[in-house]
Symmetry: D3
Subunit: 134 residues, 6 copies
């Protein structure tokens, strides 16, 4: 890894996952800060910043991969919000889940759709709360 | 499913997977023609033809999902060729594999990269053979 | 798919999963009604209605597959109830879980047995409530 | 485990898997005979002999579970032959694979169907050879 | 299995998992006592007592395997406590999780680290409560 | 990552996996040299060199994890040889496979034992060839 990954990674993590990603790093502060550092420096500072795929392509791939594997619910939730944050549309997320029903089975797709539905609803509620308080 | 899925599915299957997809359907002709029909009518005639994602997006998602699951080598090979056929670039395929190393582990990414390498080399050989015979 | 799958599928879904299956379809009404349609028309209207296996055989296979994969808890719960509804015995369900301990590991079997236990207890409670109110 | 599992297990293993199962035990003779003993005494002498499911039900469940997990090709081949040996029909095997396409994805079903096809063809060849030599 | 496995297994289960393991066996008492017997006699009375690996090595392997598979949360929690009970250090557990990030992906490692963190905190709370009441 | 990971990683990769690891890096030279760099700098230069676990503990964990996941045969073969190279005993490898039969199923253990057996035999052959030529 080149120098500068730490700063670049923190910026990218924040740009992609917002407060959720920072909470993940913080949750590791006592038990294992180095793993937080690997997430920041390697997963975001190196891999996520590679050219060749747009952030939208990356997050759509991550969301589909996590839904297909089906054993990483907290990470799926973080990346559903991240996908929307970087500009993936709700339709693209829904269609990715439907497409993977063929390859990973209907339950993986259904559980992915339910996770997406919950994230969409949270965002609608938050938007509605912001509108009322404005 | 609406009528017409059979024809639409055959066209899409052929457009996406070429002779490889047809061989899959044929391989089922004796043991279980209905499953070939589900691949054609449902997987391609219905799911793959949905609006909301481009064929390039779909095939990149399929390739990443199959590499992440890691237990569908023949299908991964078919869809690596399909991804290239519909216009996904080699770089996008390689970057998708690298991205999934974070979510499904380095062996899944490495085996996916080796599968991609073999498909790229087959295509280079075929292109080189065509060039020589021209 | 032939015409009529929609109606046939709704009937079969209802016969096999009762209100639970309808709630699944309803949960998709806003985010993705087409996936609900695929469940109804393809999974139930086509696959589940195929000759060659009895509904009892199908549901026992589904319950064992879901417990072995271990990443589809909501679907396992629906199909444990469905298996009992179509006439699979509690003993058959328990024995299927024990059998899969050899192939998918003791935790998959144990989690499957716990899920079955919870469904059996819910049904006993409901039966006991019905008996008291009679 | 009660006494007698060793003998009961050997008989059952032989009845279900024929020479194939014995070759598995033999393959472990040098590196780890105890694991062969666990297969014989526990997997066959205890689990496979439990009442509550018929051998046909057990082998159909095993075949479906192995095809769904997708990472146990040698064991899938042994149990496809075992399923036929104890009286599961080819149709039941094919239908089990089709049914699991909904829960474990089309590639798992397709690879299961191809494995079944190969076992069916080997048996047809063997039957044809026996007929000719008769 | 030789005679005596039942008693040996109960002792080992209790030594390794304490009250948690006994609760697992008890939870099966009504639905399926035999599976509890297999856990006691086979998993602990036979496998866990084999020479060749220390209890510390076994529990570290079990914890890593369960975190890598990612679909056995209750068992992971039991074995995190068991690992500490038999003398595996917190550092070894944390490092095992970090090591498996390379092979099973960052989400498997992260979820394993969070499970470990929760078990460590429960133990610290219990220790602190004991200290105060002393 | 700190500077120096590249060199440290190359040394560790070579010490642990010998020529096999270098062939992996080389296989990526054309299609994706950066992923080779991540294996060297991150997987070996950073993770594998962490204090807290011995190389023997790491390789035994890696071998068990790969056998449990069951979808990374080439990596399992490399790490079986690596485990022996860093001083894990054949007995420890065999016992790790037997232990994971309880958690990941008998087929995962059996396939792991067969992979181990093949690696042991290759080494015996090589040793015997060296002895004859001496």
């Amino acid at each position: 890894m080149e120098n500068g990954n730490a700063e670049r990674g923190r910026d990218r993590l924040s740009a992609v996952t917002g407060a959720r990603g920072e909470q993940v790093i913080e949750s590791l502060a006592e038990i294992c800060p180095d793993f937080g550092r690997y997430i920041t420096e390697f997963a975001y500072g190196e891999i996520h910043l590679r050219p060749g795929l747009t952030p939208q392509q990356r997050e759509l791939l991550i969301v589909a991969t996590l839904a297909a594997l089906g054993n990483a619910q907290p990470q799926l939730n973080v990346h559903l919000a991240a996908a929307l944050k970087v500009g993936v549309s709700r339709t693209e997320i829904v269609e990715a889940m439907i497409q993977l029903s063929v390859y990973a089975g209907f339950p993986a797709a259904l559980n992915g759709l339910w996770a997406a539905k919950a994230v969409f609803e949270q965002q609608d509620l938050a938007a509605s709360a912001r509108a009322q308080s404005a």
